[in-house]
């Protein structure tokens, strides 16, 4: 019994010597306040979970489809990159509401550990009219590692994303860097491997009668490495600057967007850029998503820049100014 008594005594003694930094109390108080506020909104059905706007891209990556019902919004064909953005009819959901999808995804995300990715299956999506939903009734979601330290994040962008120029800490209209993460602003770009779990999830849904089932999956191996920097101002408006490192090999990407999406060809720092405004975004509570994108070359490395916002009050001009600032 000697060792048992000794370890017990040592723990008692050591516990008396530990102390909690008051700064930690303040931090937890702040974090808890935000979490409680979010929880309260969730109870009222208002929780904003802006995680999955890029799901259209994820769907497109899964299939490489082509339908008679689409019209071409714009096309990029430069070097090794071919990208088509198509507007689709009948993208509206009839079997499930965006709120139900957001809630289902939020529930799953809450159960994930930091760094984990999950594939979520919605049985209702399979009953939708649009073949894109029928063929891909799953949505990838992750709980990302967040880097809040600016110096560490710029080092990640420089070393991992191979950016030869630094992004600014501030953007026009008083936007400041808030945090960075690997990946797109919302959702996960899930490649072909997403299909291998579809059958398993369909079976589980049938057996259990659950309309939403999910599983933790290995980190998606997307051909595109994305890094997103989030900027916020005092009005809590948000701008995402995403750097997508494309492979040097030939890459064909097809993206889908609802037919109501507006498009303008614009210029950013002398480069041809594309502005889209989608007012039927499935996964943002405002239903809106604006994006400016352009393809650039960093040495031999093709890089796609996306400057986007889900804040309805951010104007096209503000996005253009932010895009220009990101290149200086």
């Amino acid at each position: 019994m000697f060792i048992e008594k000794k370890v017990r005594n040592e723990y008692e003694y050591a516990a008396g010597k530990l102390h909690i930094d008051p700064a930690l109390d303040s931090k937890i108080e702040r974090v808890a306040k935000m979490e409680l506020a979010g929880k309260w909104r969730l109870h009222k059905g208002m929780r904003f979970r802006p995680k999955l706007v890029h799901v259209a891209a994820a769907f497109a990556l899964l299939t490489g489809f082509g339908y008679a019902t689409h019209s071409l919004l714009y096309k990029i064909d430069e070097g090794s990159v071919r990208m088509e953005v198509q507007a689709h009819k009948d993208f509206t959901l009839t079997q499930i509401t965006p709120e139900e999808i957001r809630l289902g995804l939020a529930n799953v995300e809450n159960k994930l550990a930091t760094g984990e990715t999950a594939l979520v299956y919605f049985a209702a999506l399979e009953k939708e009219k649009h073949p894109l939903f029928q063929q891909n009734p799953t949505i990838g979601i992750e709980k990302p590692d967040i880097v809040k330290d600016w110096k560490a994040w710029t080092a990640v962008l420089s070393e991992e994303a191979s950016l030869s120029h630094a992004l600014p800490h501030e953007l026009p209209d008083s936007f400041s860097f808030l945090e960075g993460k690997q990946g797109t602003p919302y959702g996960v770009m899930m490649g072909q491997e997403g299909q291998q779990w579809l059958h398993e999830l369909q079976e589980e849904s049938k057996e259990t009668g659950k309309s939403v089932v999910w599983k933790v999956v290995p980190q998606a191996t997307s051909p595109i490495e994305a890094y997103t920097s989030l900027y916020e101002n005092k009005q809590k408006e948000r701008i995402f600057v995403t750097v997508e490192k494309f492979p040097k090999e030939q890459l064909d990407v097809q993206l889908s967007t609802p037919e109501t999406t507006k498009y303008d060809a614009v210029t950013v720092s002398g480069k041809k850029a594309h502005y889209t405004k989608n007012d039927q975004f499935l996964f943002s509570e405002s239903g809106q998503y604006q994006e400016l994108s352009w393809l650039d070359q960093d040495g031999e490395q093709p890089i796609m820049y996306r400057v986007a916002t889900d804040s309805p009050t951010v104007s096209k001009e503000m996005l253009l100014q932010a895009a220009k600032a990101s290149q200086q």
């Binding site: 060792i3 048992e4 000794k6 370890v7 017990r8 040592e10 723990y11 003694y13 050591a14 516990a15 010597k17 530990l18 102390h19 909690i20 930094d21 700064a23 930690l24 109390d25 931090k27 937890i28 108080e29 974090v31 808890a32 306040k33 979490e35 409680l36 929880k39 309260w40 109870h43 809450n110 550990a113 930091t114 760094g115 984990e116 590692d145 880097v147 330290d149 110096k151 560490a152 080092a155 990640v156 070393e159 991992e160 690997q182 980190q219």
Partner: protein
Amino acid sequence: MKEENVKPWLIRMRRGEEEAFQEVYRATRTYAYNLIYFLAPHKQDVDDMMSEVYVELIRSIDRYDVEQPFIPWFNGLIVRQVRNWNRSIWRRFRLLERVKEKGYEAPVAGMEDKLGAISDELEVIPAVEKLSFKLKEIVVLRYYQNCSLEEIAAILQIPLGTVKSRHHLAMKKLREHFEHRINHEEASFHVH
């Protein structure tokens, strides 16, 4: 921490009352911190783990059955968060590792070992720290938390037999370490 002092606040916390959370935090913070500290493999992560524990408490409080004792349920939550942290840490490491190799050291607050001042007085805890996490969590719950083996099985959601065998193995390793240490000290004494 007394169950009866915390429970009324837990019920109010479920309704989203901030004040109730503050009371729960005040009543549980030392308890939670010490347990996390003794479980954590990397002590510099303890503050972040502590934050995660309380975020998780808020998120999962609706699943807590108020008819059941709170402390074992809270113990389970803490152990799961520390485990999850361990699982995810490799990704964090991977992301920053190559950056670190280039000469940038990410700042980490409170890196100093809080038990550094009394480390010379501790003989067994340093050996517990060297055990695998599966063995260490048994030792911490049994000898710091005074949980019975049955309670540990319930907290970790593993069979009682597994708890017994891990406990046996952990104590065997600690005894071996301690005997080796005593022999070594005796040998040193003879040299002098």
